[in-house]
């Protein structure tokens, strides 16, 4: 699996979340995704970027354009050094939230992606990786 292109973006403010949406849209257009798939990726990215900002105290997104000889894909990794998630299964359940809101972020992002992985421990920050293939 080859990483054709990679870029990192800081997530430290509300404007950064808007920027994340714009960048992910550009990259998904470049990767050849159709309109609905683009919207799904961007929406998932928005959810996760927001989590980084509001629950993780800020962090970073890494976006990668992938190619494995047969198909193209996009992989996004959202990382923060916040409090971490104590119970991931619980966090993935719709409706769960520790703060304001319906808590759809994590579970929603998973439903909108082909691949999803979350790596988090209390006090050790959180890393969420999603990918979508064309």
């Amino acid at each position: 699996m080859a990483v054709i292109r990679e870029e990192k973006r800081p997530i430290a403010s509300g404007e950064d979340v808007v920027t994340v949406r714009r960048i992910v849209r550009e990259w998904s257009v470049a990767a050849g995704f159709g309109l609905v798939d683009q919207t799904k990726i961007v929406t998932a990215a928005s959810e996760l970027a927001r989590n980084v900002l509001h629950h993780g105290g800020g962090g970073v997104m890494c976006i990668q354009s992938l190619n494995d000889d047969v198909r193209r894909g996009l992989r996004l990794t959202f990382e923060d050094e916040g409090p971490g998630i104590a119970d991931i299964a619980l966090a993935l359940k719709d409706g769960y939230t520790t703060g304001n809101g319906l808590g759809l972020g994590l579970g929603g992002a998973r439903r909108l992606s082909d691949e999803f992985a979350v790596d988090s421990q209390p006090g050790r920050g959180t890393r969420v990786t999603i990918a979508r293939w064309k």
């Binding site: 080859a2 609905v36 000889d69 047969v70």
Partner: protein
């Protein structure tokens, strides 16, 4: 051990690159199987030169495992070539023969240079033979995958053409689905319906599945998602033409249709749609006078 052999082979090829390339290109151009109508001589020369260079590097840096990163440039070049040839209209064997045709000039060179060491000649000939076979097969595989993608795309396009959305009346659309529905097809068709709803400003869309023999869980879910999406946009969907067998399947699958209006026939659905848009069809009988 293999890499030692390969790097010596690599040197051999580098040292004789010009003649090798010349002989190889001449051979390809002379082959009756070459589709001169599909490819320009200069392009062929360029591709051959590129392959030769990358192969030399691969032999020098890599071993016999073609999946290793040292062989990536060769794989990528062949993948690009393969896709290009597929688009140009070459057959899979015509495409793979690009690699296979390299054997002859290479073996001739090796026979000349290693004349005095028949054991080594045999050994290296065999190793590079295996390598080129693998590369040729790889080229054919990529070609196949490329063709599959083209076929899928053409299928999608045919789908769009074969499931037109019909305007039954102002603000009322109908989508008669016919034939078996697979997940991919259903998604495309449903997205198309939603776009048509916006374009024609329709408040009601009737999805008629009279012509659909079976519905599985995935298709049922897509139908439900479409209804939900239309509702989010401000339009209502009615599903009509659910035959008894499909009704049974839906119940067995545990799909919840509670939220959705369903009607047995398209005609019934149309009647409901008219009613909902506060319209009625009245008879045109002339008033009798006595």
């Amino acid at each position: 051990m293999a890499s030692v052999t390969h790097s010596r082979l690599s040197d051999l090829i580098s040292a004789n690159e010009r003649t090798l390339l010349q002989d190889w290109v001449k051979l390809q151009l002379a082959a009756t199987s070459l589709r001169r109508d599909l490819i320009k001589d200069d392009d062929l020369r360029e591709q051959s030169k590129q392959f030769l260079g990358l192969l030399t590097r691969g032999l020098r840096d890599g071993n016999s495992d073609l999946q290793s990163p040292e062989w990536k440039p060769v794989r990528e070049m062949l993948a690009d070539l393969s896709r290009l040839r597929a688009r140009q209209g070459f057959s899979p064997s015509e495409t793979a023969s690009f690699v296979f045709s390299f054997k002859q000039p290479l073996f001739e060179l090796m026979r000349r240079e290693l004349r005095d060491d028949p054991a080594r000649l045999n050994d290296e000939t065999w190793k590079v033979n295996v390598l080129l076979d693998d590369l040729g097969l790889y080229t054919a595989e990529i070609y196949q995958k490329g063709r599959e993608e083209v076929i899928q795309r053409q299928q999608m396009e045919m789908l769009e053409l074969s499931t037109p959305v019909v305007t039954l009346w102002e603000g009322i659309l109908a989508l008669p689905l016919i034939g078996t529905l697979d997940s991919a097809r259903t998604q495309v068709v449903m997205e198309n319906l939603l776009v048509k709803i916006v374009e024609s400003r329709a408040s009601i869309a009737i999805i008629d599945i009279t012509g659909v023999p079976t519905v599985d869980t995935l298709v049922a879910q897509h139908l439900l998602k479409t209804v939900a999406a239309a509702r989010l946009m401000g339009a209502e969907c009615i599903i009509s033409g659910i035959r008894p067998q499909i009704a049974q399947t839906i119940v067995h699958l545990g799909v919840d249709l509670e939220d959705v209006v369903t009607k047995g026939s398209l005609a019934d659905a149309f009647a409901v749609a008219l009613q909902r848009s506060d319209r009625a069809i009245v008879g045109a009988r002339p008033v009798s006078t006595s």
